[in-house]
């Protein structure tokens, strides 16, 4: 197991390097740079800029350096000094901006994942066991619709419903009085009260997808000969299903936990923008729009690293629970 783990971790390193290059490349893509955007904005307001000062800024930020030098400066600072650079827009270190918001993002992500699984797995299993029942059809149809609703639309509708019928603002993760308050039990409670809406909205499509896959997996396994064998031993139905087909049909999910992180993050960007949540999503959006490259690059990099680490964990988990993977017989 230890060798497998080390082997797998060594595999991850080149992936991370390539991802960091790609993230940096993406943020360099838009024509122009942050300064030209700023200058254009200032000139539009009728202000003029001292060309010398501008030049000084360009040199300071290394904006005219070739791509590889910029990349090297950026990545070596991150690796050697943990320095993600300075956000042009906020004039603050990127790392501060990220650490402010990342915990909430992760909290939201984990909560969504748990919620999705807690709803989808039992629903999928039930749907498979009671195949062709009314409940099965209901779950399927609801799933189809949930899969089709863009999550920002769901967020808008929930927001509208909350606003129109409960007269309460559903935006944000905290009530106004807690936003700047220090952490306390009451603040945690307030957070939980607000958390469910984004969790529901982000998890919607994922839930529907997992229900469908779980149902299909379970139907595949339910009629396998080994289930009959277990039944012929005298095992009660419920225990049989829990021990054999369920156990095996869960494996594909364990192996895809890692892959679901990007899609949760995708959902988070949009929903957080609509619901004005203080997570990294809106920050990234703003940074991309204003070409605040270090900020955007830093966020993308961290999300990608989280994804890769998630994939790694799910691979290890799968090896731990499935002997076929462990012994290379899958």
């Amino acid at each position: 197991m230890l060798r497998f783990t080390i082997h797998r971790i060594l595999h991850v390193i080149p992936t991370l390097i390539i991802i960091s290059v790609i993230s940096f490349f993406i943020i360099q893509l838009p024509p122009g740079d942050f300064l030209t955007t700023q200058v254009a904005a200032l000139e539009a307001q009728g202000e003029s800029i001292d060309p010398a000062q501008l030049e000084a800024l360009r040199v300071r930020y290394g904006i005219d350096d070739p791509f590889w030098i910029q990349y090297w400066k950026w990545i070596s600072n991150i690796l050697l000094h943990g320095d993600f650079g300075l956000s042009f827009q906020f004039q603050r270190p990127v790392i501060d901006l990220i650490t402010e918001r990342l915990p909430l993002t992760i909290l939201l992500g984990v909560a969504t994942l748990l919620f999705t699984w807690a709803i989808a797995l039992p629903a999928g299993i039930y749907s498979a066991i009671k195949q062709h029942s009314a409940a099965d059809y209901t779950i399927s149809v609801v799933g189809f619709v949930a899969l089709a609703v863009p999550n920002f639309l769901a967020a808008l509708v929930l927001a509208y419903v909350g606003f129109a019928y409960f007269g309460q603002s559903v935006g944000g993760l905290f009530s106004p009085e807690y936003v700047n308050a220090p952490w306390s039990l009451a603040k945690v409670g307030d957070l939980l009260e607000h958390l469910w809406i984004p969790v529901l909205v982000i998890g919607l499509a994922g839930t529907a997808g997992i229900i469908r896959t779980m149902r299909a997996n379970m139907l595949d396994e339910l009629y396998k000969p080994y289930v009959t064998t277990a039944r012929a031993k005298g095992l009660p139905e419920g225990r049989n299903i829990r021990k054999y087909p369920l156990r095996i049909s869960l494996n594909p999910f364990i192996s895809t936990v890692g892959w679901s992180i990007p899609s949760i993050f995708d959902g988070e960007v949009i929903v957080a923008t609509v619901l004005a949540l203080g997570t990294t999503g809106p920050l990234l959006l703003a940074a991309l729009k204003s070409q605040d490259m270090y900020l955007a690059g830093g966020i993308i990099l961290i999300i990608a690293v989280l994804t890769v680490v998630g994939t790694l964990i799910s691979d290890l988990l799968l090896a731990a629970v499935d002997p076929r993977v462990r012994f290379g017989k899958a």
Partner: protein, 643 residues
């Protein structure tokens, strides 16, 4: 998930419920049609309902299983034999349902008689019978056992359910039982997963699971069908021994009459969900009453006498207990022979001019092995290891061996479906020898029409998206040899020649049964007027009666068209029936080769002897007269590594 205490409480509750359920199903002992009966099936009907219609898998059958005997249920696919067995325990595959009838079961000779069909299929009562009073073994142990649980875990479960033993005692009993079924190093194997065991070992584990609670009745549902013939012999021996040792009753389901002759006391012949004939094994084989039974028996190659005693010039037989698979001395005489697998025993050479001379043929595959933990290393698998073989014009050469011996690879090398790693394939149709192994794909084209292949799987080898006309005509069309109505005419003539109607040409393969599809496959092979036809397990997927028809067709066509056959098969009885000469392969090596009569009568190589001694003989009167030969290669490889 469950605490131990809760589990025990749950078990006690279930036991009480089971008692009530069983008490409700008690029937007067006088209702049994035979006082000796352990199981008496009366008017059983099992039906499969689905959107696709209703299938009466078991259609009103009566069947008595007498205590202490082995009852074989024999029949072709779709006869309902398996559904009958599963109905007894109410574990019929979804969406099967027992519609009617009684299944009277008397576990103890003096005990109460209960109607198992009256119990609820998910109730506690039937559960208390399953595994404890009736054990069952299934066909394919790989899929019948969970891949993610150790065999120990799965076997222990039976005792957890049906006994009061604690975990440590259970483990001890399981190890003990694994030892009983002949699994070496049981204290390690108990923690093995199914994929770490060979097919034979897996089936032994399955047997241990079925027997650990000492049921009065064991149902074996085609337990050896998926196994090689030598492994099958071992498993049959084991079952025979255990049955005596544990004094149990056995229901054995099979399609193989040879197996029936080896082990049955009573025989039940089934067809289309009905019982056709029942009787003691000797009567069934020597005085069959029903036409269908006679037809089945007629389709068997009748081996007149038991195998001759080998002269053993090279083999050094050593009688003893040290059988490599850990088997114990039982009712069968076991002889162990050791010989070198790399040496080929050759009987006299054929007189006729060879059409194909295979010289030092080698085929190696790269295989990625190693676990996810270890480094992946590339290994070479030698599938064919320097084989020399001649195929004479007009003869039928049988190539036999067990799975993984390289016989199919050899056939595909000759077809150049694979590019051989080394050696020569000298093909000579009278106009000079050509080395097929050295030709480019383009140069090979004319020979592709002379050397043709009939595939094993009549379902996979016909493109379902093409009509029969297109499938059969394809080789002529791409070669530009015929087109339009001429092509159609030739296809239709060929269809009639293989016993189909020319009007069937516009149908798609899905409209045909297995036997008909195999006829189409033969028509495709013969449309180019070939010299050499390689039939790779061409009849293995077919039922006995259909198999006979196809073999007859192949023989007729050979006479008519002067064909040469390379007939690849694992089934020695088929090979004996139709082949002029036979070649035996073992792990890539050709171990023996010679005229069929000589080779079958007087096998020389240790492996050939082992193989032949393992083939069941379809005559119950021969039972017990033969010794069982076990082969051990010279290098001392264990059977285990051959997973």
């Amino acid at each position: 998930m469950f605490s131990a205490r809760r589990r025990i409480r749950e078990r006690d509750r279930a036991a009480r419920a089971a008692q009530r359920g069983l008490a409700g199903a008690v029937v007067d002992a006088a209702e049994l049609s035979d006082a000796e009966a352990i199981l008496d099936i009366q008017g059983l009907k099992t039906t499969f309902h689905s959107d696709e219609g209703t299938v009466h898998a078991v259609d009103d059958i009566d069947l008595v299983v007498r205590r202490g005997r082995t009852t074989c249920i024999v029949g072709e696919s779709g006869s309902g034999k398996s559904a009958t067995a599963r109905s007894i325990l109410q574990v019929v595959d979804n969406p099967g349902l027992i519609e009617d009838g009684r299944i009277l079961f008397r576990a103890d000779p003096e005990g109460p008689v209960r109607d198992l069909a009256a119990l609820r299929s998910k109730g506690d009562a039937i559960r208390s019978v399953r595994g404890r009073e009736i054990g069952i073994i299934f066909q394919e142990p790989m899929s019948a056992l969970s891949p993610v649980h150790t065999i120990g875990n799965q076997i222990s479960e039976v005792l957890e359910l049906h006994s009061d033993l604690g975990p440590a005692q259970i483990r001890e009993r399981v190890i003990d039982e694994l030892n009983n079924v002949g699994i070496p190093r049981p204290d390690e194997r108990i923690d093995a997963f199914t994929f770490q065991l060979s097919g034979g070992m897996r089936q032994r584990a399955m047997i241990a699971m079925a027997l650990i609670a000492r049921p009065a009745l064991l149902i074996a549902d085609e337990p050896t069908t998926a196994l090689d013939v030598t492994t099958q012999a071992q498993i049959l021996d084991l079952l025979g021994e255990l049955k005596v040792e544990l004094s149990m009753t056995m229901i054995f389901i099979t399609h193989d009459l040879g197996v029936v002759a080896e082990i049955a006391d009573d025989v039940v012949v089934m067809r289309h969900g009905k019982v056709v004939e029942t009787g003691p094994v000797d009567q069934i084989f020597h005085d069959p009453q029903h036409d269908y039974t006679k037809e089945l028996l007629a389709s068997l190659p009748q081996r007149s006498a038991p195998l001759g005693e080998p002269e053993a010039p090279e083999a050094t037989p050593a009688v003893g207990d040290a059988v490599p698979d850990g088997g114990r001395p039982g009712s069968v005489d076991v002889v162990e022979v050791v010989s070198d697998p790399r040496e080929t025993v050759r009987h006299e050479h054929p007189q006729a001019r060879p059409l194909l001379r295979i010289r030092d043929l080698r085929m190696e595959f790269d295989a990625v092995s190693g676990t996810m933990f270890g480094r992946r290393r590339k290994e070479k698998i030698v599938a064919v290891n320097g084989v020399d073989l001649d195929i004479a014009e007009g003869e039928t050469l049988g190539l036999v061996g067990e799975s993984g011996c390289g016989k199919t690879t050899l056939g595909r090398c000759v077809m150049r479906a694979y590019d051989p790693t080394g050696g020569e394939l000298l093909y000579d149709d009278g106009s000079g020898a050509v080395d097929l192994a050295g030709l480019s794909q383009k140069q090979l084209l004319p020979y592709r029409r002379q050397v043709r292949m009939v595939f094993q799987d009549p379902y996979g080898s016909l493109n379902p998206r093409m009509t029969v006309r297109q499938v059969i005509g394809e080789p002529l069309r791409v070669a530009g040899l015929a087109r339009g109505s001429e092509l159609d005419d030739r296809v239709e003539t060929m269809l009639e020649r293989v016993g189909l109607r020319s009007s069937m040409a516009s149908r798609y393969p899905h409209a045909f049964s297995g036997g008909e599809r195999q006829r189409i496959g033969i028509a495709r092979a013969l449309i180019t007027s070939p010299k050499l036809v390689i039939a790779d397990e061409a009849v293995s997927a077919l039922d006995v009666s259909v198999r006979t028809q196809i073999l007859e067709l192949l023989a007729d066509l050979q006479d008519e068209l002067g064909l040469t056959y390379l007939f690849i098969s694992h089934d020695l009885s088929v090979v004996e029936r139709i082949c002029d000469r036979v070649a035996v392969m073992y792990y890539g090596n050709l171990v023996e080769e010679g005229p069929a009569e000589q080779l079958f009568a007087n096998p020389q190589h240790g492996y050939t002897r082992a193989l032949l001694s393992a083939v069941p003989v379809a005559d119950p009167r021969v039972r017990g007269t033969r010794e069982r030969v076990v082969y051990r290669p010279d290098e001392g490889e264990s059977e285990e590594s051959a997973a």
